[in-house]
Structures are given as C-alpha cells and as structure tokens.
C-alpha cells in the first residue's frame, strides 16, 4: 500500500490557439473589399497560431486514502488537470500513474436524458460512469433512498425541479465505488442542505472508507473541512502543495491581497503619522492564535499592534468590517479608551477587539483599522483591507442555523432568545 494512488510526473498540456489576422473592428466595406480581393488574388486571411500551455510540467504525488483539494483562480489549470486525470484529454507531455479504480465526477448528471424517467436515467448515468448493470441493480434502492425522489422515479426528469435533478444525479455518482474519486466543483449546484449531504458523503468516502479523493472547489470552507492537503495552482504551475490552512492562506493572499496577518516593516512604510504608527494587524481565535478560518461558535479577535511616538497623546482605536459583497457590516470605536481619554508613554502597544461568538454570518470578512483622536477629531491612520478571515459554520447543529442546512442569508447571525407561550 506504499505506492502512491496518483503519481503525476511532469505533466504539461498545450493548446493551439489560432487568431485570424484581422483587425478587431473593421467596416463591412473593408470586409467585402478584402473578400473581393481574396477571390481575385486567392489570398487567405493570415492565420497566426499561438501555443498556450494550460499546464506547465506539473508533478505531485497523492497517497492512498488522502483527501486532496485543488484550488486556484479561473484559468489556473484545474479543469485541464482533472480532464487529463480523467482521461478525457491527453497530456502533451509527461506521465501519470494511477493505482486503483478511478472515477471522476466533473459534472453532476452527465448523460441524463430529459425524456427518460428517473429510473431509466439511473441506469443510463450509472453505465456512463462505469458501473455495470448488475452493480446498479444491487445499489438501486440505496441510490433512490439517498436521492429522496422515490415518488417521481417514473416521471421523466424533464419534469423534475432542478434540486431533484441534482439530487438524483449525485445519488448515482455517490454510489460509485472507486478507490480514487475525482470531483470537480459539483457541489456548487443544489441547495445548501444538499451540499451538506454531499460533503458528508464525501467525508465518509475519504475518512471512513479510506478512499483517495481529489476535490476541486472555490469554496474554501468545503476544502478546509474535507481536505488535509491542498494543491494551489496558479497560471499552470503548482504554487503550493501542502497543509490546507496554509494553502488557503496563500490562495486568499492571491485573491484578496490580504490574509489573517498584516505586518509593516519598521524600516519601511508604516501607516500613521508622527504620533502613532501601525505595526501589525492579525485575526485571532479564542486561544489568540492567528487564523483566517474561524468557527462561527467562537469569538473572533482583531489584534492591532502599534507604536506611540510621543508621550501623553490621547487617542482611541476603531475598526470596520466588510463582507465579501462589500457590505459594511459594522463600525466600532473603542469607547473605553475614549471615555478615559487615556494616554501613555512612548512605546509599543497591543489591543484586541473581540467580536462575539455567533455574531458574524458565514463568509469572508475584510477588516479596516484606525486610530484617531477626538478633540480635535484627527485620524492618525485608517488602513483599509488590512486582514481578512472566513467564518465557517461546521453545521453541527449548535449554531444559529440549528439543524437547518438550507440557505441562511443575512450579514449577522446571532442566536436570538425566543420566548414562546400560548396566547389563546
């Protein structure tokens, strides 16, 4: 069992893109003139060909029973890699060794035919994914059970709601029993409850059944929940391969240009003025460890370190939180400091603002910090997008969503007290 499940050795894939040698915008008159000239001179429009490497000599190993995530921006080469691993397309260079039966799920419901019934599509889809008819028959009841569409088994799937469609399709795929499972962003479809079910199933597959799972997603919370190891692809290269927390951090750095820790070089530029300068901002958990993924059930600390350059300057701290859509979640000023108007000696200081547990909704939060004086009002610095973090709900039933797994909108998610009584 020591041989790796997947051994990728210097895989490269190039595509030839041809551009027609034409101006982007041409008048119809020019087109006709050129065509006419072309007829006379038998000249063809000039074709420029360009080689584009979607993957550039990538190598990695995946051990048996490992759950590995692949993340990266659009165009980073994720889909190409999966297509090569699934043998849909051939690599231009390199070699891959796969030890074990591999099944890939690049799309939910591949081959589903809208005219056929649910029952018929189970057989069709199963066969396309590589199951034998006997195998499908054996697992049929289980599949139907998992999908929860037994009432509509003999209805053409074109009459299904999109949710039912996806559930049925995933149910078939979930009952493939490969040793290696390759899954593309299939969980992006379907409602949250279904997504939770899928994630649970994939967790079972990787952790309880010890199968190897390769999982591509844009949802970092899903990645961090499912995968111990993550490969970050960037421009066809492997940017990072290792621990998932670190990989997600690198990915976010790339994406949002922030992470859970921002630090300024004391020799270089520091936000601030001749009175106060910012040294460091960090997002910490209850144990005061720097984290960019935080559980909704824990308090979240925003820790600020700064230098005071003159004695006895009165000032206070502030922060703003924004979500991924840019919604300004809240502003907060440190009113204790302001009330006492305290001031101290020169030196380095540290302050932590605690955001209570069960307060922010799931998702990415970006933080801006400031230090200001009130009288007269003066902002010493106000630094936007210093750090960011992701709040996740582990769906264990003790957060504000309880056991409900469906969409749960809102920018805050407190647990409210509900008083119930009979009124009549």
């Amino acid at each position: 069992m020591s041989s790796p499940a997947i051994k990728v050795d210097n895989i490269g894939k190039s595509y030839i893109i041809s551009h027609e040698g034409q101006d982007r915008y041409t008048a119809l008159r020019d087109v006709i003139a050129r065509k006419a000239a072309g007829v006379v001179k038998k000249s063809k429009p000039v074709l420029r060909k360009e080689e584009f490497w979607a993957l550039k000599d990538i190598s990695f190993d995946i051990k048996q029973g490992e759950a590995v995530g692949i993340i990266g921006r659009n165009g980073a080469g994720k889909s190409t890699l999966l297509k090569i691993l699934s043998r849909i397309t051939e690599p231009t260079r390199g070699r891959i060794e796969i030890n074990g039966r591999i099944a890939s799920l690049l799309e939910v419901g591949t081959g589903f035919h809208p005219e056929l019934t649910g029952r018929e599509n189970i057989f069709l889809n199963g066969a396309i994914l590589g199951m034998s008819r006997a195998e499908i028959k054996r697992k049929f009841d289980e599949i139907v059970d998992f999908s929860g569409v037994e009432k509509f088994l003999d209805t053409p799937v074109k009459r299904y709601s999109s949710g039912m469609y996806v559930r049925l399709a995933f149910a078939v795929a979930a009952h493939l029993e490969p040793e290696i499972l390759v899954v593309d962003e299939v969980l992006a479809v379907g409602d949250a409850e279904f997504q939770r079910k899928c994630l649970g199933k994939m967790n079972d597959v990787s952790q309880k059944e010890g199968r190897t799972v390769l999982f591509v997603s844009h949802q970092m919370d899903a990645i961090s929940r499912l995968c111990q190891k993550v490969i970050v692809l960037n421009g066809g290269n492997i940017q990072f391969n290792g621990n998932s927390d670190e990989a997600i951090k690198i990915y976010h750095n790339k994406m949002e240009n922030t992470s859970a820790l921002a630090r300024w070089d004391k020799a270089g530029y520091m936000p601030g003025n001749e009175l106060v300068k910012l040294v460091e901002v960090a997002v910490v958990n209850e144990q005061e460890e720097i984290k960019d993924i935080l559980d909704i059930r824990q308090a979240i600390g925003i820790r600020m370190k700064y230098m005071v350059l003159q004695d006895d300057v009165p000032f206070t701290h502030g922060l703003n939180l924004y979500n991924a859509e840019g919604v300004h979640i809240l502003s907060s000023h440190d009113i204790d400091t302001a009330k006492n108007n305290q001031s101290g000696k020169k030196g380095e200081y540290e302050t932590i603002a605690w955001i209570p547990a069960n307060f922010l909704a799931e998702g990415l939060v970006s933080v801006s910090v400031a230090i200001m004086s009130y009288d007269p009002f003066l902002v010493h610095f106000h630094e936007n997008d210093t750090v960011s973090f992701t709040v996740i709900d582990s769906m264990e039933g003790d957060s504000a969503r309880g056991v409900y797994g469906g969409p749960f909108p809102g920018i805050v998610r407190p647990i409210l007290k509900w008083k119930n009584k009979r009124s009549i």
């Binding site: 090569i84 397309t89 690599p91 891959i96 081959g111 994914l129 053409p156």
Partner: protein, 279 residues
C-alpha cells in the same frame, strides 16, 4: 491493487480494446436510450421505422415499375424486388446520418466522462440496425399479402445483416470522425444519401443496371459497397435473382467494405484523443 492506469503523452491507446470490453454494456445502454427517447418523443414511435421504407417502396414501385416499366425482368412481385433492395439501403442511409451526428449530439459525454469514444457511433449504428430488423417484419407481411414463398436461401440472411452492418459502420465511422473536425461533412452526408439511392440497385436490379453500363466500367458500379450488399439481399429474397457470389463484382464491394472498416477505425482512433478539445 488490481487496477493500474498509466497516462502518457501520445500513448492513450494502450488499453483501448480492454477498455472497450470493460465498457461493453454502454453499447447496449446508449442504443437503448436512443430507441427509448424516440419512442417517447414521437407518437408513432417504432412505427416510423416501418412507415418510411413502406412509403419509399410504394413510390419506387410506382415510378420504376409502372412508369418506367422495369418490372418485366422478374416473375416475383416488383414491390418485393424493390423492397429487398430498399431495406439495406435505408439502413445504410440511416446509419450514416445517425452516426455522423452522434458525436456532436453527445458532446456533453465527450467533454465530461471517459470511455472509448468508438462506442458512441457504433451505438448509433446499432440503433439503426434495430430499425432495420423491425422492417423485416414488414417484409414478412408482404410475403403474406402477395402469397409469395421466398427461396430457402433466405436463411442466409443473418449473414448479410452482418455484412450490411459492416458496410454501414465503415463509412459511418469515418464521417463521424471527420464531422467533429470539419463540420461541413454534415452537409455532404444528405447528399451522399440522396444521390446514392440512384447509383445503387434499389429501384432497379443490378442486372438492369449492367445492361446500361459498358462492360469495362461495370466494376466501378461495385465500388459502391452497398451494390454488393443489396445484390446479396435480393438473392436471398427474390426467387429468380442470380447469386452475386458467383461473379467477381460482389468481391469488389466486399473488399471496399473491409477497407472502409479498417481505414475508418484507424482514422477514428487517430482523431479521437482530440475530440474533447475539438468539439
């Protein structure tokens, strides 16, 4: 660790025939899907397989038999003579049309799942083949209607079913592969089908055709693979039809059929690894 796959640049074909065997149920499933879907989408369903040859046969009997007065060459009812040629020809035409569009019609499968691509066009030929077998029921009904007793050699017919299958499969596969890369081919196929029915011994028998063609060009007529196939079918069904296997023209068609099968499999395999990128 029973399964081990090695993916290497340029060597995708290593396990091809093994994979084809492993996915053999897919031949059946995909043909079954096509038939089932047609059955559900159309009110008449499978009847369409019967109506088309029946109507074509009636028109041909009328045009060639009554208008052109070609029926004298046989003592067998002319409708049966025409029908014996019509059945394999319509199968060929259908298989060509269906298989050439099969890959493009199954684009989703090709870009999302792996299995030997050969299965898709072959399944579509199988689908047409099943229609073809259904039309034989119609032939039997015509025997009853005309109170006609076919010769005993009709028992050889399954052999020529296989030949007809191969004759349709070769060009079908070739055109399928080309159609992915050069979409113009989809305009060529209806032309082949329309034109082909007149250069094949469908409305007339090949003996009648041979009377018109100068002797030294007669072999050209049999470069059309269906010419040999249709002659063979007619020999099985029509009492006084000559045995084509006694002359050498039949073997020209046979060689063309086999060459086409070989060439098209080669061509298909060569192009197939790029299908997902091209389609």
């Amino acid at each position: 660790m029973s399964f081990r796959i090695v993916i290497e640049a340029g060597k995708a074909g290593k396990n091809y025939w093994k994979d084809l065997w492993r996915y053999r149920e897919l031949f059946y499933i995909l043909s079954w899907r096509d038939i089932k879907v047609r059955y559900k989408q159309t009110t008449l369903g499978v009847l369409w397989a019967v109506i088309r040859p029946l109507l074509t046969m009636i028109v041909f009997t009328f045009v060639f038999g009554k208008v052109a007065r070609l029926e004298a060459s046989s003592n067998v009812p002319y409708s049966i003579v025409v029908f014996a040629g019509m059945l394999p020809w319509l199968f060929f035409a259908n298989a060509l049309l269906e298989s050439s569009n099969s890959l493009i019609g199954n684009e989703r499968l090709i870009t999302k799942v792996y299995f030997p691509r050969l299965i898709i066009p072959v399944s579509s030929v199988i689908t047409s083949f099943i229609d073809f077998l259904i039309t034989f029921v119609l032939l039997l009904l015509m025997f009853v209607y005309y109170q006609y007793a076919p010769p005993l050699r009709i028992l050889f017919i399954p052999l020529f079913w296989i030949l007809a299958f191969l004759a349709s499969f070769g060009p079908g596969l070739y055109l399928t592969a080309m159609n992915v890369k050069y979409r113009d081919f989809r305009y060529i196929i209806p032309f082949i089908v329309q034109f082909g029915i007149f250069i094949s011994p469908v409305g007339i028998t090949s003996e009648q055709a041979m009377k018109v063609i100068p002797e030294k060009y007669q072999w050209l007529y049999y470069l059309n693979p269906m010419a040999g196939v249709i002659d063979a079918f007619r020999w099985c069904i029509v009492q006084d039809a000559p045995n084509p296997m006694l002359g050498y023209y039949f073997y020209i068609s046979l060689i063309v059929i086999l060459l086409f099968v070989g060439l098209s499999i080669y061509q298909f395999r060569k192009m197939e690894k790029n299908f997902a990128d091209l389609i």
